[in-house]
């Protein structure tokens, strides 16, 4: 444990969060093991477990393998790799350290980005025998994108190159040349041997040519205070504290800047202003608070503020837009689809978000910009995005707290990606909603019906259009005002520019959904027959209209039966390999989980199925 006491009341000891990264086998885990071991954080019982584990899994030929101290999960010990971010802790008299130990392999880029998102500094390891590698470049780029400004270049295994200063200097100048465009404000190069401890905590007597600090000396003294306190005041409201009628406080953590009693604040977005009345903590009222403080503030006048709002200093307001450009690191096996609706978490606000276009993907190894339609796992892209509501933000480069967001899948709730905002796009800001005097209720009342989208989904040849046609004929005969949107027909006009790749299918349904919504606004009953293979897009159309206005009809015909019917000869072509991306063949179909109407077509006549659909629409009150 650390050797010096922290006397009560002394406020000096700081917390430094850093991550270790670098190529596989460059010795990251060994270095952390070394730091823990030399700072006496390893207990006797842990050391004896380590000795046992070293004999079983170790790669150091009988010596204690320090890397095993940190490779915690079973699979990692067996495979000898680090597959997840692990957090390690050690402290000295000057500082407490939280170390994110992150994986080196390319397939774990997301884990590294996770570790980097919270770090103040990166320790980048390089194997002195190998020099700057592809992975060194990739990790540097990720650190730079995630806003790290301080890098320690730890040239490891210096003992294995006979402590040669020329090799060290060559690597350092090679790295500096490469990193010159990455925006780091400091790069400290240190020759070390993690295995032997040279220049980690103890100055090596083998590297007399090196005059700089040891790694630990450097970590203890480097100034990374990130100037968060000097930035404009930003306060995302986390929770409104209302224990009784006479108290209303806004609880949250100051993201940047400082705030004092009497200072003016603005609620970004609404533009309403007030002044700080009190800064409340359990330890008594405070006269001021700064970046990182968790506080509750009250205002001199009541303005409309709730969770998700951002309070800022009126002197320097944030950008506000529902469209912006951002770097996105994709973290899911399920590719990013432009046009698909996701959820974003920005500050304390959650809002729908859509990628409207991917400008390019970055080759993390060469930094080249490549054209792409989607982003896959571990891809980094530069995209235009559009949010459901305008959001207040700062460019990530200026403020990591107010310029970052995560993207969440609406159905599975998985975290899919992480974003860093570059700049706002002005295109949306001058287009306002024109309020119309006659609404859809009035228009529909005129027609004695309730407008709705009847959405038929199913495989090609399942019978969607046949059933939809029969239903429309019946509704029309009964005096209802209907419209039919058919997948094939729409592709001849509105969507003639779209093919059958996953992103194009997403866009196909998005446009069809928007058209159907306009027709619902016109008071119509809109019959839509689209294969619409993805659950997410069908749900997106559902969200375009009011509750009860979207009726999902699953026309359920097994693929064998569809292929047998093959009314358009498409299955034969798909089998022959003449058509690519054919749903059910080489493209997926995600069946509805809870459709309003489930029509199993085997053994049924289309007339019966159409009858059943009309009956259900009557029960739902859509037709009279």
């Amino acid at each position: 444990m650390d050797g010096v006491d922290v006397p009560a009341g002394q406020a000096g000891k700081e917390l430094l969060r850093f991550l270790t990264c670098g190529s596989v086998d460059d010795g990251k885990s060994t270095l952390i093991g070394r730091l823990l071991h030399d700072s006496k954080q390893i207990f006797q019982d842990q050391l004896s477990a380590l000795a046992r584990d070293s004999a079983r899994y170790g790669t150091t030929g009988g010596h204690v393998d320090l890397a095993l101290l940190v490779d915690g999960l079973e699979a990692e010990r067996e495979q000898g790799i680090t597959i997840d971010v692990a957090y390690r802790f050690f402290s000295t008299s000057k500082r407490s350290f939280i170390v994110a130990d992150t994986p080196g392999h390319e397939q774990y880029t997301r884990n590294m980005a996770t570790g980097a998102s919270k770090a103040d500094l990166a320790v980048l390891l390089i194997d002195a025998r190998k020099g700057v590698l592809v992975q060194t470049r990739r990790h540097s780029l990720i650190c730079s994108l995630l806003g790290l400004r301080h890098v320690v270049l730890a040239v490891n295994k210096i003992d294995l190159v006979s402590y040669d200063s020329d090799i060290f200097e060559r690597i350092v100048s090679q790295y500096r040349a490469f990193a010159s465009e990455l925006g780091f404000s400091s790069i400290a190069a240190i020759p070390i041997s993690a295995r032997n401890g040279d220049n980690v905590m103890r100055r090596s007597d083998q590297t007399s040519w090196y005059r700089g600090p040891t790694l630990l000396d450097y970590l203890e003294t480097v100034d990374v205070t990130q100037e968060m306190t000097g930035k404009p005041f930003r306060f995302p409201v986390q929770w409104v504290n209302r224990p009784g009628p006479d108290f209303r406080g806004y609880a949250g953590t100051v993201a940047s800047g400082t705030i004092g009693v009497g200072d003016p604040i603005t609620a970004a977005g609404s533009g309403q202003t007030s002044r700080v009345k009190e800064l409340i903590t359990y330890d008594g009222p405070q006269s001021s608070a700064q970046a990182g403080d968790a506080i509750t503030l009250t205002l001199t006048s009541e303005i409309d503020i709730s969770r998700g709002d951002l309070l800022v200093s009126p002197a320097s307001d944030t950008e506000i837009s529902d469209q912006f450009a951002a770097h996105i690191i994709w973290m899911s096996d399920q590719a990013l689809m432009p046009g698909r609706s996701y959820l974003a978490r920005i500050g304390t606000r959650t809002t729908p978000i859509t990628v409207t276009g991917i400008k390019y993907r970055i080759d993390v190894n060469t930094r080249e910009h490549l054209a792409t339609h989607t982003l896959g796992l571990n891809d980094i892209g530069f995209c235009n995005l559009s949010t459901g509501t305008p959001v207040a933000f700062d460019p990530y480069e200026q403020n990591r707290k107010t310029g970052s967001f995560i993207m969440i899948d609406r159905l599975t709730n998985h975290t899919l990606g992480a974003g860093m905002i570059a700049f706002g796009l002005r295109r949306g800001t001058n287009i306002h909603w024109q309020a119309t005097l006659i609404g859809k209720a009035e228009r529909a009342a005129h027609k004695h019906q309730r407008p709705a989208i009847i959405w038929l989904t199913g495989l090609s040849g399942a019978g969607k259009s046949t059933i939809a046609n029969m239903v429309e004929r019946q509704l029309h005969a009964a005096g209802h005002h209907t419209m039919m949107l058919d997948g094939d027909n729409v592709r001849h006009g509105l969507n003639r520019d779209l093919g059958f790749t996953e992103p194009d299918r997403v866009e196909n349904i998005r446009r069809a959904g928007e058209v159907a919504k306009l027709m619902v606004d016109a008071g119509l009953i809109v019959l839509c027959s689209f294969i619409s293979p993805y659950r997410a897009e069908r749900e997106a159309v559902r969200r375009l209209v009011a509750d009860g206005e979207f009726v999902e009809v699953f026309v359920d015909t097994p693929i064998d039966e569809c292929a047998k019917r093959d009314p358009k000869g498409l299955y034969a072509k798909a089998k022959a390999g003449e058509i690519k991306n054919f749903t059910g063949f080489d493209a997926p179909y995600e069946a509805p989980e809870n459709p309003e109407i489930h029509l199993q077509t085997i053994g049924q006549q289309p007339e019966q199925l159409a009858q059943r659909l009309v009956r259900t629409l009557t029960e739902l009150g859509i037709v009279g």
Binding site: M1, A11, F43, D84, A86, S117, Q238, A251, I280, M331
Partner: protein
Amino acid sequence: MDTSVPQNEISQRLLPKHLKSLEAESIEIMREVFAEFKAPVMLYSIGKDSAVMLHLAIKAFHPARLPFPLLHVDTTWKFREMIAFRDETVGRLGINLIVHVNEDGLARGIGPIASGSSVHTQIMKTEALKQALDLHGFDAAFGGARRDEEKSRAKERIFSFRSQGHAWDPRNQRPELWNLFNTRIRPGETIRVFPLSNWTELDIWHYITLEDIPVVPLYFAKRRPVVRRDGAWIMVDDDRLPLAPGEQVEMRRVRFRTLGCYPLTGAIESDAITLEDIVSEMRSTRLSERQGRLIDSDETASMEKKKREGYF
């Protein structure tokens, strides 16, 4: 406005910056959970980490009262002093405490002595916890675990997602970036939240010292009746502990670094009678905190295994 502690009695203490950062981080996490979940609960295991977690929660929601209940999963084998301390604490702070016992396990006679540590822990802790979460429909549960305690804990998220059966899948954890937590779950799923993730054992004791947080007296050295068993000092807390032939109850000056079920928790010989003594003893010790926990040492990866099954 109701405050549980008179404000004028709290002096302005200056915490070291690193503890202030940790405190602020924990408070932010707790507020996040309360803002986003329908039915949070705080697991209260009576030990030092729970004491700090409770103290932080009171700070987080001040001047409002603690807006969720505490849950103690009682195996019926806790030290008597722990139960007394628990009841005194909730009485003093006016907090809503739920005590849950796995009655079915109790009826089957499950206990650390009759069934062994691993069955006892599985039935009376893990299963009991799942029962209590299901019974009350809690969708988020705070736990006082720290990443420095054990290797598999070091890789767990602060917001740790659990599937419908309360299971943890270490390979399928949600990435956690910045302070942007993904709090979304589907019905039946739950989240375990660890606001003390980044605290170390030493941070905990420093904080307890600086904030004057009451802890169970068992942490302080005192002459207690103990018996030597499997290389550990086991306290004879009541008459349910059978003595093996040759085992002698002796009075020794001992204290505990962690607290659990008394037959499974080893004491250490110590002279530490103040918080300052404990901190300085910790600095010189060469043994880890969980070394006193007999339930962990079955095999190296046993904590990961228990956690996958729903242990905290």
